[in-house]
Symmetry: C2
Subunit: 390 residues, 2 copies
Amino acid sequence: MNDFSFSSPTKIIFGRGAELRVGEETAVFSKRILLHSGGGSAERSGLMDRVRSSLRAAGVEWVELAGVKPNPRVDLVREGVALCRKEGLDFILAVGGGSVIDSAKAIALGVRYGGDVWDFYEYRAKAESALGVAVVLTIPAAGSESSTSTVISNGELALKRGFSSELLRPRFACMNPELTFTLPAYQTACGAADIMAHVMERYFTNVRNVGFTDRLCEATLKTVIDSLPRVLADPEDYDARSQIMWAGSVAHNDLLGTGREGCWGSHGIEHELSALYDVAHGAGLAAVFPAWMKYVWSHDIPRFARFATEVWGVEADWEHPERAALEGIRRLEAFFAASGLPVTLAELGIPRDRIPEMAEKAVAKGGGTVGNFVKLSSSDVERILELASS
Amino acid sequence: MNDFSFSSPTKIIFGRGAELRVGEETAVFSKRILLHSGGGSAERSGLMDRVRSSLRAAGVEWVELAGVKPNPRVDLVREGVALCRKEGLDFILAVGGGSVIDSAKAIALGVRYGGDVWDFYEYRAKAESALGVAVVLTIPAAGSESSTSTVISNGELALKRGFSSELLRPRFACMNPELTFTLPAYQTACGAADIMAHVMERYFTNVRNVGFTDRLCEATLKTVIDSLPRVLADPEDYDARSQIMWAGSVAHNDLLGTGREGCWGSHGIEHELSALYDVAHGAGLAAVFPAWMKYVWSHDIPRFARFATEVWGVEADWEHPERAALEGIRRLEAFFAASGLPVTLAELGIPRDRIPEMAEKAVAKGGGTVGNFVKLSSSDVERILELASS
């Protein structure tokens, strides 16, 4: 096990009606905030009005900035930075999923920084201060409600980049599983794939003697695997929705990565798909992750055999661990497909012609390689994307 | 699943040499602290001197109060309260295990309270303010390094009582598994029993649809069950020591209890053994918990069958779930015995004559019952202690 440092200070307020507590919780930090959202379904469902009432009742004033799209754009972030400065707002409440939260975190960074906020995502600036961020969560997926990270897209440069800092961990997150009842099946499945990917990027490690976090990872994966089909069959299954929602936060608050070094290769590759083709992150991961596994499994057969037996219930064939290993990958892919997710680039509508370009970009941020379990060169990434194509 | 609120703000600094960072971490909070310890083995091993050097290097002044004993006493707490007031100390660093940490938390409460600190443990006072507490951990057991609770004994009244408040969660905890290499086998096993009990008190719940936390509980139990024999065979097995140490914190930082209602019946009963006979808490739990299980298992056979199959690898006999349930209890008891723990009151040197008195005291704090999975009356507790006797 590696040395580590860990804390998970985000206050999680979980259960029916959790969003009604947003006013009192916000008032602890600020009385004048930016209310940031997508604007669409949260507005139509009446959630935004409930949030506004709660803020009003707690004496919190707000200025609104809606319009966050999936794969949130740096343009809107810049708008948010300017708005916070102009209006003197010192706290940001994000109402939505990972895109809104990541956009809020980017604004929180930008307001306290002299240069352009994109500098952080080019690793040209260090985070020394940020506004506080809080969340009313509507989509269990990114785990951004309790994580340190933000991922933003730059349309002009066709780049999607991430940045992390302890300063960005939300102060609190209101999580009401009922708010996810109206999520379409496809978006629900994309969210589950993202959650599973967050666990798997940590699970496939070269660090030894991490049995405790291995088991915590397996527990989290099995929870999503058990709950997703129930939610797809009955979108208003509160219990299954709640399991996924809580698992989605624990998957990415860093607990599961304590003492181990994760990989993030599949995330790095997927970001290039999203950057060029604007696909849903979870859908891109469903296509990339099995292909990544097919490419790297022989690097550590015992680990893939464990994944197969402990997560997927594959029988332990000790004479042929490679069979178990491959069967685990097959089951993951079949699970994604059965959940209505694309498992090839073709299903995502992505042609092969820009694979070399995506491969180059994927490794460029890491100085020539991406990932850690196996350090992948651009030609490795090309082959993974070829595997994902067919 | 129940609604819940959760955060785990304690900063965990984990790994070799973690204690050397105590000065810089303390200096963030205070430059004039109480250094609280047992004084014995931490002094002899040189740990206290390393802590002092680190504090000195960071410009932190301290006043020392050593002498905490297992089942820490309110008398020493009162001394600590007076000392902090006299010397103007506003932060407490606990170097030791659960007893030292719990004593430090009690002092932290007392300094900011006008009356006698025991009032908190009689539920006559509410915690509105407390000094900050931090920890250098030497014994993985109580989980007090990241929990909200403190348990203190009152020799005069022959009472052992607990109190909880978010104010008491330590600011940081330095956890170096190497510091536990010299723990005697018996103390190591007692610690493991305490950790397992913290998980089991949460696991045996009447709340349904808690699959995620069920699996996290099982992951934590399996980690201790896998690691303890390795540590007893080789006390300097860093990897196994580290698994137990980290599992011990996660077991009691409240994550495993999110969305569920725990029981704490066995803890409540054990506190009466410790109060009268001053036995090690973990040893008392090893004797009480299997007896509690033998008394209550028929209340929820599916839950005990799950405990048996998922935690202990008992084969799932769907036609006779009661067989699996009982086999799980048998394996727990056998595991404790094989680890050198007492599994009867006789082995603890506790006679039967004061069983009625202990049973009365155990239920007195709860208005006539103790526990939640099954609400136990004093005659139930008597019968459990009789079961534990033979």
